[in-house]
């Protein structure tokens, strides 16, 4: 004898079986597990194709304006260092140039912050400004600096230029460009 609760359970099982079956356009019945399997296989095949279609970016692209401005700031700094080392010129003769170089580097830092994955450039600019402030303080509080004391600033400018060249080379190889 079939009880009422058993009837209800049978009806529920049948309804679940019905919802798990879908009639395709061709009239062929397929269950959900098969459809999920096909979707997964399709995604697995499509994912590599999508990846092949994209280029990976770990470091922001080369920016010609930034490169040019760094070269310009490096040139102004070299003229300042050269003059102080050769002629022992006072701080007051170069106070304006220190401000100009720091301003140019500050503007570059703002520009660099607008690009994603550009942390290295921002860090190098910040370190260059800090080293320049050290050199400025030596010049202002003690007197004309010596060649070894200017090496930190010079090295950081070389690192910045090297970084820009690496980006430029990457753009030539097939990396990201602006």
């Amino acid at each position: 004898m079939v009880t009422r609760s058993e009837e209800r359970r049978d009806a529920y099982v049948k309804s679940m079986q019905l919802t798990n079956t879908i009639t395709s356009s061709g009239g062929r019945l397929t269950d959900r597990r098969q459809i999920r399997g096909r979707i997964f296989t399709g995604a697995a095949l499509l994912l590599p194709l999508l990846l092949v279609g994209c280029a990976v970016i770990f470091v922001s692209s080369y920016d010609e304006i930034t490169d040019r401005e760094i070269q310009e700031a490096a040139k102004t700094t070299e003229v300042l260092i050269g003059d102080v080392l050769a002629n022992q010129t006072s701080y007051h003769e170069h106070a304006k140039e220190y401000r100009e170089i720091d301003g140019a580097l500050g503007a570059l830092e703002m520009r660099a912050a607008n690009y994603q994955k550009n942390e290295a450039e921002i860090e190098l600019l910040q370190k260059t400004r800090a080293a320049l402030r050290n050199l400025q303080r030596t010049h202002k509080e003690i007197g004309p600096f010596r060649v070894a004391e200017a090496e930190g600033v010079r090295s950081l400018f070389r690192s910045l230029i090297h970084h820009e060249l690496a980006k430029k080379r990457s753009a030539g190889i097939g990396g990201p460009t602006q």
């Binding site: 279609g53 770990f58 470091v59 290295a120 860090e123």
Partner: protein, 124 residues
């Protein structure tokens, strides 16, 4: 699409792209560390000479002031060298990332060309 041939071309393209950056980085890092080491040695010699010159001062106030200036000079200059050394490391890390980026993209470009050639249209 020939899998073995494509794989070989992908590896060659990746190695070629990375090698360009590696050669440039090696030259840059070697030169930069040598320069910083030379500057460090010179700063040390300058500091010793400054302190020795300060010792010769008969006036105690002058002696103290010269020593203070020598110390400040050395501190600021060594701080700049520290920043510069960190800068080389920062640039080196970025170089490694750029090399990896170009190597992956070079390999993907080979795969893309192989897929397009295989299907007969510019699919990717």
């Amino acid at each position: 699409m020939n899998f073995e041939d494509t794989l070989k071309k992908m590896i060659e393209a990746a190695a070629g792209a990375a090698k360009i950056h590696w050669n440039d980085f090696r030259t840059y890092a070697e030169q930069e560390f040598r320069r910083l080491a030379e500057a460090g040695t010179r700063l040390e010699a300058d500091y010793i000479a400054d302190v020795a010159a300060a010792q010769h001062q008969r006036n105690a106030a002058n002696r103290k002031e010269l020593k203070r200036k020598a110390k400040l000079r050395a501190e600021l200059a060594f701080d700049s060298l520290r920043l510069a050394s960190e800068g080389v490391v920062t640039a080196a890390k970025a170089d490694a990332k750029i090399a990896a980026q170009d190597a992956i993209n070079a390999a993907l470009a080979v795969l893309r060309a192989a897929v397009n050639e295989s299907v007969g249209i510019a699919l990717l």
